[in-house]
């Protein structure tokens, strides 16, 4: 699975650390880290929570061209 650089960039724009995002969506930091590294495929519920916190759509963060 490819690295999710869009998620990393969106998090950086909001000046959030992985720990901040993890706390906001209610998961562990290692889960956010694994998603960004492409090592974990999150459920649609977690994707939606991340999108809400970062103010992005599912396509913007999780759609692969």
């Amino acid at each position: 699975m490819a690295k999710n650089l869009k998620l990393k960039a969106a998090r950086a724009v909001r000046d959030m650390t992985q720990a901040d995002l993890a706390a906001a969506v209610g998961v562990s930091r290692q889960t956010i880290n694994a998603i960004e590294k492409g090592e974990y495929n999150p459920t649609i519920n977690l994707c939606r929570s991340i999108c809400k916190v970062l103010g992005k759509t599912l396509d913007e963060l999780f759609w692969e061209e």
Binding site: V27, S28, T43
Partner: protein
Amino acid sequence: MKLKEFWSRNNLDEMQQQTLLNIEARSFWLLWGMLLAALIIQSLCGFTMREMAAEWIVFMVGCVYTVGACIRAGIWDRHFTADKKTNFLLSLAGGAVIAIWSYVKFSEFGWKSGLLMAGITAVTTILLCFALLQLCAAMYKKRHTELENPKEETDNHENE
């Protein structure tokens, strides 16, 4: 009440939950294999059925629960399909393993006795395994069909 709250509470997120399930699955198969190995070694060392009863009961309860739960969920196997040919080949493999075990166990009475017992137990195992696999496969197919064709909540759009 507190116990109920304790069991319903989950400290893990979805990835940790999935990781824990993988760890538990590997642990299950490790324990299953080691328990089977212990039973085989004990039987070859001359332990009586009474001495092996506890391990055997634990092993069989685990196996029966796993098979029952899989059939109930309409799941057969990751690799094998539920058809006659596969079931027969698996039964043959089981028969071969039992034949080797029988030969090792009964060859102390002479190689002829060993071979005879190996043949008898192999044929019996193949027949029993095949019958049991066919029965389980039939139950699985029935359950799978039920789950694939739910009676309630028919989706009208599917037929359009």
